[in-house]
């Protein structure tokens, strides 16, 4: 069976459990050819599932670089 495996090139288990982006709901198949046509880029819009906004419970913007346990943000899970 083709059961989608829970992992993401952008957000993984090292990130806050509440970090979200569209790709987590859309589950597109990563395109192996994509970076033959341009370099890597990240056009992703992130949000926090607790606040349902692009700002976290601490009022700061949501991003994989900061939404990590062990960082300065106290709101992470």
């Amino acid at each position: 069976m083709d059961t989608p495996k829970p992992s993401s090139p952008l957000v993984n288990e090292h990130h806050c459990n509440n970090l979200r982006h569209k790709g987590m709901y859309v589950m597109s198949v990563p395109d192996p050819d994509e970076f033959k046509f341009y370099d890597r880029y990240d056009a992703t819009a992130y949000w926090c599932t607790c606040t349902q906004k692009a700002l976290g419970p601490d009022g700061l913007s949501v991003h994989p670089t900061t939404c990590k346990p062990g960082g300065q943000r106290g709101c992470c899970e």
């Binding site: 069976m1 083709d2 989608p4 495996k5 829970p6 992992s7 993401s8 090139p9 952008l10 957000v11 993984n12 288990e13 090292h14 459990n17 509440n18 979200r20 569209k22 790709g23 987590m24 709901y25 859309v26 589950m27 597109s28 198949v29 990563p30 395109d31 192996p32 050819d33 994509e34 970076f35 033959k36 046509f37 341009y38 370099d39 890597r40 880029y41 990240d42 056009a43 992703t44 819009a45 992130y46 949000w47 599932t49 607790c50 606040t51 349902q52 906004k53 692009a54 700002l55 009022g59 700061l60 913007s61 949501v62 991003h63 994989p64 670089t65």
Partner: protein
């Protein structure tokens, strides 16, 4: 890809951004499944696409057309529940401010008010106009609006950043933590210095694209109704399952207690993937008021807070050799996705610059945050690169289409530009193109331009449940949604094809989180995720039907197959699929007999066929390519551009419904046309408040602005289904910009190409009359 030639980007290195490094996956499981799977098309699906389809690839009218044209389709905005209240959100009138005091006493006591919720306290800061700070519900919309205005707020208004220039100034106030900008790491490949040395000509310039808002006609919002601890929410969303998950997480309740329904949905374009803050507020005031609440945003709120496409800027230096080969590309890029959100985009786009370097910087301003919008990043990268391409072509005096073809990456089924460019050229009469600057007398200048696009569009993971009952009914349930693409219709086509029925004989039930899981509709992945599930599930249902029939008919199951509106019992063994290869081969017509679908189903008695199925490999793929051409007329005395014609050559794998697929292309092109010349979120540079949060000054093409559109859809049945919502939206703006340049002889490096920009450039180039 062609295996003989290394891909043009074969040497492209990944950046060193932390979040781009992929740690070893697969230990614990987050709540949301996201997929890492090999995308290689698979080999022998059990239920392959028919070789000679009866319905697939034909033109079928939308199944929900009659409901929509008669006004009887009920959208979330149209839902009315007994005792329903109306909710409104309290929002910040400022772009950047700290709350001093709040007094909601009068609002709480106002007529009709049943619940009021304040989510901000003195000392808290807001970062963009319209940021949510509370909500209330009242018996009528008017009472809700009246009460909202009774809430007294005092603010310390803080300096706001309205433009990227303001945010990037060294002396700019630090509004965002840790900084107003976030600089990415340079991506480099090849030898930049050598590339520029090899260049015969170098073009330098700064390119830019605007912020556009999604402007879905149905605004964001929901109707929330509690039954004890269970929430039913009618939501305008592109993801019923994702929205269920969002409600549960935001409200801290079990997902089992949440049901999300989206029967019809008035457009999302990437901006509707969860309940959003307004969904949570709606559910919370509904709980507090102990009554259903409808909370749909108004147009102004929609513009301010529900997402947008980030702006893009690119300071580019690029070189071309005398033989027309690109040599070097060096770019600093930036843009804003609003308050703390990113703005990256792919660059250079498609064409092969062997030596290149690029650094992107996200710039934050006090404005609503970006969200995914119809091919996120691609229109920006396409515009910057494609306009540059025309400038480079002119420097070496080469036809811009030839120049493009010369610099394409290696061809493949997902990279067919070299074939499509001449096809499009034929249809736009590219031969008639003059060199840059229409020499014809008079103020009306005509021009042609072209550009290319690509997109992924592969989906997976959809599940479905199919029932066939003794009366011949077929019901397919799937937790997907039709956001206007025609998903419901193509689902019915695949099911009907598989069961030998007409689409009208199939009932498709979607838009409900109680149905089997299917992913959200974004990234042009829905068709590729859902159609395989339809084929497999309907195929399994058919097999189950045959299994039940066989003993009753006293024949082996191998002898039963599907006809047209019939089940066929033939003495010879044949492939189980009616339209499979074996069927095509079987020449002899022995004494087979047909049983009508109804009669066959009658054998089921009181126990229906009831099977589950899901997406399987081999029936869908990703990777599309396309080209577009534009013909424009520019009035150089007024700066007004009239787009006369767009030609689009686009592939999308196996085409299910030619009619709705073409409409997707029309829609994408019109959105690209808006991007090229009309729409723009305009913020007051001093307060960062949006001055055009309406549909009057937020310009969008109306009927008289729509050009002739000629769509050529390239069918690639061997690739399986690929989504087409986004690909056609990518290239239009660049093609139009290039056509304007060809017409006028002036280079516009900034969209939208409004009369002020065009006239200023014309003036610079020597006046207009």
């Amino acid at each position: 890809m062609d295996s003989r030639a290394p891909g043009p980007g074969a040497g492209r290195r990944a950046p060193e951004n932390a979040h781009d490094r992929i740690p070893d996956p697969g230990s614990r499981s987050p709540q949301v499944a996201e997929v890492q799977a090999p995308a290689r098309p698979p080999q022998h699906p059990k239920y392959p696409w028919p070789e000679k389809p009866r319905l697939i690839g034909t033109r079928i009218s939308r199944l929900d057309g009659p409901l929509k044209v008669s006004g009887r389709a009920k959208y979330s905005y149209d839902i009315a529940r007994p005792g329903m209240l109306y909710g409104r959100i309290l929002r910040s009138p400022h772009a950047h401010a700290r709350l001093k005091s709040i007094d909601a006493a009068a609002a709480e006591k106002a007529p009709g008010v049943k619940a009021l919720l304040i989510t901000i306290k003195p000392g808290d800061k807001i970062l963009y106009p319209g940021e949510e700070i509370g909500a209330l519900a009242a018996a009528t919309e008017q009472q809700a609006a009246d009460a909202l205005r009774l809430i007294k707020l005092e603010w310390d208004v803080l300096p706001a950043l309205a433009t990227v220039e303001q945010a990037m100034r060294p002396e700019a106030p630090q509004v965002f933590t840790p900084a107003n900008t976030r600089r990415g790491t340079a991506q480099e490949d090849g030898d930049l210095a050598a590339g520029f040395t090899a260049a015969a000509h170098i073009v330098e310039g700064t390119y830019s694209t605007q912020v556009q808002t999604h402007t879905s006609l149905e605004t964001h919002g929901s109707v929330c109704e509690w039954n004890g601890d269970n929430l039913t929410a009618w939501v305008s969303t592109q993801a019923v399952h994702g929205t269920r998950e969002g409600f549960a997480a935001g409200l801290k309740i079990p997902q089992a207690n949440v049901r999300v329904i989206t029967e019809f949905m008035g457009g999302g374009f990437g901006s509707k993937f969860g309940p959003d803050i307004q969904g949570l507020l709606c559910a919370r005031v509904a709980k507090a008021a102990n009554a259903p609440v409808k909370m749909m945003l108004d147009r102004k709120e929609e513009h301010l807070v529900t997402g947008n496409r980030p702006s893009a800027f690119a300071r580019v230096r690029a070189g071309v050799a005398a033989d027309g080969k690109l040599t070097a590309f060096d770019a600093q890029t930036w843009g804003t996705g609003g308050a703390g959100a990113g703005s990256d985009y792919p660059l250079p786009y498609i064409y092969t610059f062997p030596n290149r370097r690029r650094t992107h910087t996200d710039v934050y301003i006090n404005a609503g945050q970006q969200r995914a919008m119809r091919a996120p990043g691609h229109p920006q990268g396409c515009f910057v690169t494609e306009v540059l391409m025309d400038e480079l072509a002119d420097r070496i005096r080469m036809d811009p289409m030839e120049f493009r073809i010369r610099n394409l990456p290696a061809p493949g089924p997902n990279a067919m530009w070299a074939k499509y460019f001449p096809m499009g050229a034929e249809r736009i009469n590219w031969k008639s193109r003059h060199v840059t600057g229409d020499p014809a007398p008079g103020p009306i200048k005509r021009g042609l331009g072209c550009s290319a696009n690509r997109w992924g569009g592969a989906g997976q993971g959809a599940r479905a449940h199919c029932e066939i009952t003794a009366d011949g009914s077929v019901v397919m349930r799937c937790g997907t949604q039709d956001i206007g693409t025609g998903n419901r219709t193509i689902m019915a086509m695949v099911v009907a094809e598989t069961l030998g029925l007409e689409v009208s004989q199939v009932t498709i039930e979607i838009g409900d989180s109680n149905h089997p899981f299917a992913p959200g509709s974004g990234g042009s992945t829905t068709a590729a995720a859902v159609m395989p599930a339809m084929r497999v599930t309907a195929g399994k249902a058919r097999d189950a039907l045959f299994e039940r029939m066989a003993p009753q008919l006293g024949v082996p199951i191998e002898q039963i197959s599907i006809g047209v509106g019939t089940v066929v019992v033939s003495p010879s063994t044949r492939d189980s699929l009616p339209d499979g290869p074996a069927a095509a081969r079987s020449g002899q017509p022995p004494a087979s007999r047909s049983i009508s679908w109804r009669d066959a189903c009658r054998l089921l008695g009181t126990v229906p066929v009831s099977v589950d199925g899901q997406w399987e490999r081999g029936l869908s793929a990703g990777g599309t390519s396309g080209v577009q051409f534009a013909e424009v007329e520019v009035d150089i005395e007024t700066g007004i551009t009239k787009v006369k014609k767009i030609v689009c050559v686009q592939d999308c794998g196996l085409i299910v419904d030619l009619k709705t697929a073409e409409t997707q292309c029309y829609g994408g092109i019109i959105s690209g046309l808006n991007y090229a010349v009309f729409e723009e979120r305009i913020l007051d540079r001093n307060t960062a408040n949006m001055v055009n949060p309406n549909m009057e000054w937020y310009h969008m093409a109306g009927p008289s602005d729509i050009p002739e559109i000629d769509v050529v859809l390239v069918d690639q049945p061997e690739r399986g289904v690929i989504g087409i919502g986004e690909p056609p939206a990518v290239a239009t703006a660049a093609a139009v910009a290039n056509a304007i340049r060809n017409a006028t002889g002036v280079t516009l490096r900034s969209i939208p190409i409004t009369p002020d920009k065009l006239l200023a450039e014309l003036q610079r180039a020597g006046g207009t009359n």
